[in-house]
């Protein structure tokens, strides 16, 4: 049985992402040190970020709003325009940060792409993710580039139906149990989990006691071609 489409999560699967957010948070703590201690900044920022997810979505633009809201709240509105400009700069630097592609990624894509349709399937902001995909230099390996609002069972189902992809011939690779693995398994497709130490708390999920045989786990993306051969031969 041949797999038709191999889909890859992008952030923290193909390239480094979460550390950008950790660094921005550290910078915000410094900027707000006249108004609040670091613990309070971290706590408020995370709460604001989660509260804003529904209306603002994922990505740096949404995160920058959350930083500004946190700054206004913790300074009781006393923060100055100049200081807020400093926060805007933090956001801009996040957007412009170089894209650090993980080891093993490019040779793996180069090996897989001639024989199979590869897909980038990522959440986030259209402009930001589009830029990072372009700057990664990896776009040429992908037939499909899909940037979606959320990765849920419904969104995967809709996507596969629209592209006329059979779930049983679809494999998703990613570092988020919640977004890349569990919903994909629920559709009867293959899901390959790659653990990443820096994975955002929000993307973690309880792992069920029993996982279907379409669940696989690998140490790094370099061993994916062998795993795919095993799946297709099995």
């Amino acid at each position: 049985m041949k797999l038709d489409v191999i889909a890859f999560d992008a952030d923290d699967t193909l390239w480094v992402n979460e550390p950008r957010y950790i660094a921005a948070e550290a910078r915000l703590r410094e900027l707000l040190s006249p108004y609040a201690d670091g613990e309070a900044v971290a706590h408020d920022l995370h709460a604001t970020e989660i509260r804003n997810l529904t209306s603002f979505g994922y990505g740096v633009k949404a995160y920058t709003f959350s930083m500004i809201e946190t700054a206004i709240a913790l300074s009781n509105g006393h923060i100055s325009g100049t200081e807020i400009d400093g926060i805007l700069q933090v956001g801009r630097r996040m957007m412009q940060a170089p894209v650090e592609v993980f080891e093993h990624v490019e040779p793996t894509l180069a090996k897989l792409s001639p024989q199979r349709d590869l897909m980038i399937l990522t959440k986030g902001d259209l402009v930001e993710q589009g830029d990072r995909i372009a700057r990664s230099g990896l776009a040429k390996y992908f037939r499909y580039i899909e940037i979606v609002r959320e990765k849920t069972v419904e969104s995967y189902r809709g996507l596969l139906q629209q592209r006329r992809i059979d779930p049983q011939r679809f494999l998703m690779v990613g570092n988020s149990m919640k977004s890349d693995i569990l919903p994909v398994l629920e559709l009867g497709a293959y899901a390959v989990y790659i653990h990443y130490d820096g994975t955002w708390e929000h993307e973690k999920a309880q792992i069920p006691d029993r996982l279907p045989t379409t669940y696989k786990e690998i140490k790094h993306i370099g061993v994916l071609p062998d795993l795919i051969e095993t799946i297709e031969g099995g």
Copy 2:
């Protein structure tokens, strides 16, 4: 010859959009009246908005950033956190504004959708446009919902190829010469222009002296079904 897919722009084609921005600009003029006159606010805001399009894209989140940047610049950094909070509220109100669907839209979609695949094809922010589509109550009429970063010849070509849609059996309806009409005509597809008085300056374009016969113009969307019948019969 039957058309396979009828695609619709959303903002200012299916529902009111630009007036939200005009109202927000008026509110920003008021908020910044201690620092600059209205003309200067409008001028700076538009320049900032256009400059930010490449890195931030379209939509309310990007626009709110531009409003904040304008406020910081025109106040020489003296604006307060409380005042910037007022600008954030302007952005939030824009996002939450009711979706005002134009007259004739719903009956037209109801008439067309049983026999043809309808598509929403809109630029902008995934979350914002996704929300407005959901709140419009129109999603049920569409087989495809596509939110893209830009509408260019390349982006239309890529989209049609991926969905395996023949350009000669594709028709796009919209109010923007620049984004909905000219690139579509260049691909040999049908483009139907509906003039809207409020169309954003940025979406206007020089109309070429000679337009191909696949260009059509209608007064309002209610006459689209008749036009489609004429095209298919011709």
